[in-house]
Symmetry: none
Subunit: 210 residues, 4 copies
DNA sequence: TATGAATGAGACTTCATTCAT
DNA sequence: GATGAATGAAGTCTCATTCAT
């Protein structure tokens, strides 16, 4: 995972010193907040720098261009999401699928709440990729999907690997979208949608006897 | 529905003459193509006008600003999607839910193929709404969801109306996202994902005995 | 000649109306003055626009970028220089070479005085070409050289065409450089240098019996 | 001459130690290469430092600013060119002028080949002088011209000193320009142009009976 | 003395929208 | 109504130079 999520590719300079690392985080935090508030395109690099209380020049010392901020944020999200998943996944290796779904959806829900910019950043990255070559696509984190597919294969060895990949993809995509949707509503709506997401996922996975 | 989707709100002038209606369609077609190809933000109004073979001034006679083109496109999609749905929905009023899902997913898949800009336009509208006041939200078409909820209620009268609304929302959102995802892959991937979508939806709806 | 010096390649839009043509000239005049005063690199497009009393946007309506101003100026110089040359050349078809040189050098001297930016523009274009591909080189006007070579061939038919080309190149280059050098000094220096240039050229051409 | 070309004026610190002298040369070599390759303006001080494998800070310890690099390079060229000239000049004190021209042009040609940056540096210095006060002008090396003028006076004592100065100036300027021009072409062009330069110079100087 | 991260003014260029014709 | 030239605010990014360490 380390390689996939390494920020080296999108960082102009690897911050070695504590002060620099702080600055990078400040910049990313500022970018995240502004991307959420006014959207990626409407956010100016100068606004990010101002918000982060650094000169624009410093921003460009760490990030080659505006898009790099987006990528770096995505990397940061992926890293955190992956760590969350890995830990919980280990704990739930042998529980019934309904429990697995219940706990996992709750965890992802919490992640979505903690990282309100995830959706905005991801959706903008997809937009950017529409323009650029699709080669950038492999920047996206496939780790969770792979682990989930292996999990399914262990649970039901009769499932073909390709089948497991597909199910994992569908499950992740669906849960992600529904949780993001849940964030657009009030507390009640969110809770209901989470409950519904669990029903949906459990029914789906039970179909495959996992 | 006609009222909801009426373009009056986003059209500066209701084109009465055939020539004008033609121009509006040309402009929307050009906008659609460019939004798909290079994205909303990267598309200039002048490029749209050029592609549509109309002067920029004419574009602004029909659309107050660039965002209006996005809204108009969304309306056009909603109208077409709704007609597709209504017709098929009537035909499938009494078939088993698995058949309903099968036919409906195929239809939506075909719609997604026929309207490759749907995803781009919708996702961009969401971005724009982040910035603008949420009042724009009611521009979105809730019709299909409402009809689907009623359908569920008819199929299983023990379900509460709120419950039906929620299920309908979940079902629509999920199918939409998975079909859009399917468009990003090759033919094989698309077919597999469509099949998987049917499995997922059928399992889900059968949970509720509809 | 018209084709070679046509400005179509460097003008974004061919100004059709009198007002636009005026603007283009204003912009070029402003660019010329500033290029002379502070040099090409130190001149900002905004300064050119301000000096020409047009908004920057208008500048970019006619010229795709800063370099296009340089090219357009060069074209303008070439055109004027060529006309000057052609007219005088016709008049001097049969005079002794010393007279030809005398009159021609005087004419070029007057041109250099009238177009103080010629040197700056040309030298900057050469710098720009160092960076860009050398394909741009054919933008330079070879017309005068060709005509001069033919002239030499007529005067002394024993000279090979290639030889004539070379002599013409040397003569033009030398006269140009010396006249430019003359502009860097005071009136006396200029007059002395012009006289010297005539001595040099006459001696050179008489070597070939033309 | 040593004083005139002394680098003290443009060097911030006279490098006393071997290590420092090495660094200065590395920096100048790097600057020369980059000035040739991408031009003075397009070359960043950081790029020069990187290429020279020294930190930017060190560069600024030896050179007060970017322009100082240009001046220092010019000084280095002048010094080398002067040494070349002085030695050959002594050897050719009494040969016929045609031989003098022949040998001297060949030597200058070799110098131009060995120092491809000469032209770029000189032409850029002229540009810079346009901007700065003309006081910088005396930085240019007049030595060769002076010696040449004296040489002419010795050869033909009837020539006034001012006349000699002028002839020397014309001769040097002309040879320089033609040799630089020769570098822009292929081998054949270069050889032809050199031959032509000799014809031109010999004819010119013979006019004055030197 | 040596280093290289930090700075921020300012450069070029774009483009949604208007309005005189 | 139709046209498209005109506008200028604003955006992204660069880079010579400094100075704290």
């Amino acid at each position: 995972m380390a390689e996939t999520l390494d920020q080296a590719t999108s960082l102009r300079r690897q911050p070695k010193q504590a002060r620099s690392q702080e600055r990078v985080q400040q910049i990313l935090d500022a970018a995240e907040q502004l991307f959420i508030e006014v959207g990626y395109e409407q956010t100016t690099t100068r606004a990010i720098a101002t918000q982060a209380q650094v000169p624009v020049g410093s921003l460009y010392q760490f990030f080659p261009d505006k898009a790099a901020l987006l990528k770096a944020l995505a990397h940061r999200y992926f890293e955190q999401e992956y760590q969350l998943f890995v830990q919980l996944h280990a704990e739930l290796a042998t529980v019934p699928i309904a429990v697995y779904v219940d706990r996992m959806v709750d965890a992802f829900d919490q992640f979505a709440i903690d990282h309100p910019g995830y959706q905005a950043v991801l959706s903008q990255m997809i937009d950017l990729m529409t323009v650029a070559d699709a080669a950038t696509y492999n920047e996206f984190d496939p780790q969770i999907g792979l682990e989930l597919a292996q999990f399914l294969a262990r649970r039901n060895p009769t499932l073909a690997p390709a089948q497991c990949d597909l199910i994992a993809t569908v499950a992740l995509k669906t849960v992600n979208e529904l949780l993001w949707l849940s964030l657009t509503g009030d507390r009640t709506f969110r809770q209901q949608l989470i409950a519904e997401t669990k029903v949906l996922m459990t029914a789906y996975l039970q179909t495959y006897g996992v």
